[in-house]
């Protein structure tokens, strides 16, 4: 039995060929788009449902069961509900499934109210500082009323402030009842010296985490977008002293977040965000040309490449061929693409079709990669050792070498 487990871990290169056959702007363009298979060969039904809602018409109860389990494992039940509603398919869904989808959607929408409340409190608390407050990610989608917010389960409020106001923002928040979530001195140093955000904060009377960013990527990483460009292009929300990133910047932030954040367990939700944002904004003027140019200006072409590649192949996001061509030189070596495809796809879905240990292993590999992108190698080893010793997360055996 132990040998059987070992044998599975050695099969990645062969199974990965399944991904090469799926056509897209990012391959040779011959075959029809095929539903990507996970490493264990079984189709990720949830991805099919997200990509082609009408396929759900033909689902038997047993398939609905599988989809709901996968959705629950990835925190996307409410999102699935929103997609079913948007596709006008609610009548076609079995009653018990409908009930499950609706109640989850209602609970998530209820939670949105708490996010709005937190945003109002943060805005009022920081009013004396007198600077534009820019919302990021979920809070931005919600307050800007974007389709990406529908059925979206998010728990934190993320804001972007100019780096030179960081100290006064921190002091003001602390004065008004916010606290740092419990962190060791080591973690505090990590955030302040190496990260692009303050350590997470929380108001002592409430339950929503506030992340104050001064950039969208860490300053010690390999990619260093200039935050001033983001601040300059930010768009104010109607009627409120709040802003959100310009559409292209929102898309780029989402793509960067996809592979560079520490929350790899949420990849599917992040991918759905990216897909939703692109579909919403792509009809605006010269969105695509602007996006590629902007990615160049911010130095984030590689994350954009990955983001579009995964979004197109896994969720069918419409990416024009010329965009693929324009980004081709930003692509990593072919072998890396193949491995990333496998790793990313296989960590996307948590649930009965995905082999538990393989997924943990792949997550660990991506975790290593995530830290490598954020921190210089020497710091990385030290940081991972520290995490291992204090038991934050177990690193799978055999992956200590990068």
């Amino acid at each position: 039995m132990p040998w059987a487990c070992w044998a599975r871990y050695r099969s990645p290169p062969r199974a990965a060929s399944a991904h090469l056959a799926a056509v897209s702007t990012f391959s040779d363009g011959s075959a029809r788009l095929r539903a990507p298979a996970g490493l264990m060969g079984r189709e990720l039904l949830l991805l099919r449902a997200l990509r082609e809602p009408r396929a759900m018409h033909g689902f038997a109860l047993g398939e609905w069961d599988l989809v709901l389990r996968q959705a629950r494992g990835t925190g996307t039940v409410a999102r699935l509900c929103a997609i079913v509603q948007a596709a006008g398919m609610f009548g076609a869904v079995p009653a018990r499934v409908r009930e499950r989808l609706e109640t989850e959607h209602a609970a998530v929408t209820q939670h949105h109210q708490l996010i709005r409340w937190e945003v109002t409190r943060v805005r009022r608390a920081l009013a004396p500082v007198g600077m534009p407050l820019i919302l990021l990610k979920g809070a931005a989608y919600l307050l800007a009323d974007l389709p990406a917010a529908r059925g979206r389960n998010f728990s934190d409020v993320d804001v972007l402030v100019p780096r030179d106001r960081l100290l006064v923002v921190e002091e003001t928040l602390l004065e008004q009842g916010w606290e740092f979530t419990e962190l060791t001195a080591y973690d505090q140093r990590y955030y302040r010296n190496w990260s692009h955000e303050l350590p997470p904060m929380i108001h002592k009377h409430r339950n929503v985490i506030l992340d104050v960013h001064h950039n969208i990527l860490p300053p010690t990483g390999r990619l260093r977008p200039d935050p001033r460009l983001l601040l300059e292009a930010a768009r104010p929300l109607p009627g409120l002293p709040l802003s959100v990133l310009a559409p292209g910047d929102m898309v780029l932030h989402s793509a960067c977040h996809l592979l560079q954040s520490g929350e790899l367990d949420h990849s599917l939700r992040d991918l759905i965000d990216l897909d939703s944002l692109i579909r919403h904004f792509c009809s605006e003027g010269d969105f695509w040309a602007g996006l590629v140019a902007r990615a160049g200006a911010l130095g984030v072409r590689r994350p954009l490449y990955y983001g579009l590649r995964f979004a197109e192949r896994l969720l069918g996001t419409p990416v024009p061929a010329e965009v693929g061509r324009a980004l081709a030189h930003a692509a990593p070596p072919r072998a890396v693409c193949v491995v990333m495809d496998v790793l990313f796809t296989d960590t996307l879905v948590r649930g009965p079709s995905v082999h538990y240990w393989w997924r943990r292993f792949a997550l660990a590999l991506l975790g290593i990669r995530h830290h490598w992108l954020r921190m210089p190698p020497l710091l990385l080893v030290r940081h991972l050792l520290h995490k291992a010793l204090t038991g934050h997360r177990t690193v799978a055996r055999g992956t200590e070498t990068e």
Partner: protein, 309 residues
């Protein structure tokens, strides 16, 4: 077909393979386990519940396995069990003789974390002549013992752990699963209800010794019948105390009820409206008792709430 009517071999095979789907009332639970002792206990405790044909929609998926680790090493070290709820393992592995409490706790965990179609209160619920008695309580208030004693003396059991309140109409759905008993209560109920089928005692859990009582067949048969809440009674076991029902101001009862709820916060306005309607319609009490006979008498004599004008 009821679980008790299936061939034992059949049941064991299904649980070892793709899992056996149990219709427990409001939820279909799929149980997978290769552990033969556990299969036998489940067959006994869930004897009267319909086994689903399978292949349909399942609410909770619970697998109780032997822990295996990536290289299968741990399997040989200790005889342990661990519960998987799809990918989630809410508990650490436990000695294999604790498999039943682990299963029951896992199903409870699923309900507490994965359902929002009901307002869920941590409470025992029983019904008589169409009216439901809700006994909210933190563990240790004796509500399970009280619940078991009432269930075996004329009250219909809806649940010993979860009051499932429907937001639309305020009625309570029944989920008459096995009742958990601890320590001295086990022998107490054995004496109180000699006909009740009580499973194996499981010693050394973090709550002492636990055993489960099979729910009365009639309660299982009537699992589809909802009940209208009439009384909210907060019980406290107090050694030597004479049974006493004290009216509890409704606003305070509301708060204590909300405190015992798993999802009141998450449901927002719907939670508030459901609970306020319920409190308005019920009589609310605190209840001190030490003798089950006392309790039976006093609770059986509770006046119905006057209808709202």
């Amino acid at each position: 077909m009821k679980l008790g009517e299936l061939a034992p071999r059949d049941v064991a095979d299904r649980m070892k393979g793709q899992g056996l789907d149990l219709d427990t009332g409001p939820f279909v639970v799929r149980i997978e386990t290769p552990i033969t002792d556990l299969v036998d206990e489940i067959r006994s405790l869930y004897h009267d519940f319909p086994a689903d044909a399978g292949g349909g929609l399942v609410d909770f998926h619970v697998a109780v396995r032997r822990p295996a680790g990536p290289f299968g090493v741990r399997r040989w070290l200790r005889r342990q069990a661990i519960a998987y709820l799809d990918d989630i393992r809410p508990f650490e592995p436990l000695p294999i003789h604790m498999a039943v409490p682990m299963l029951e706790s896992s199903i409870n965990w699923c309900a507490a974390n994965q359902t929002n179609q009901y307002v869920m209160i941590h409470a025992a619920v029983l019904e008589r002549r169409g009216s439901a008695l809700v006994l909210p309580g933190i563990t240790g208030a004796g509500k399970s013992t009280l619940c078991a004693s009432l269930a075996y003396r004329g009250w219909r059991l809806l649940s010993d752990e979860f009051a499932l309140i429907q937001p639309a109409d305020g009625q309570i759905a029944a989920w008459p699963r096995p009742i958990s008993l601890k320590n001295v209560s086990i022998d107490l109920i054995r004496g109180w209800a000699p006909d009740a089928c009580i499973g194996k005692s499981v010693p050394n859990t973090n709550k002492g010794t636990i055993a489960y009582v099979r729910p009365p067949s009639e309660s299982v048969r009537r699992a589809v019948d909802r009940a209208i809440p009439a009384w909210v009674v907060f019980p406290t076991f107090e050694k030597g105390a004479a049974g006493r029902l004290t009216p509890l101001p409704k606003a305070r009862a509301f708060f204590r009820l909300a405190d015992c709820s798993f999802n009141y916060q998450a449901l927002g306005i719907q939670g508030f409206q459901t609970l306020s309607r319920m409190i308005s319609a019920c009589n609310t009490f605190e209840f001190r008792y030490s003798s089950l006979d006392d309790a039976l008498g006093l609770l059986g004599a509770l006046p119905l709430p006057s209808p709202r004008s």
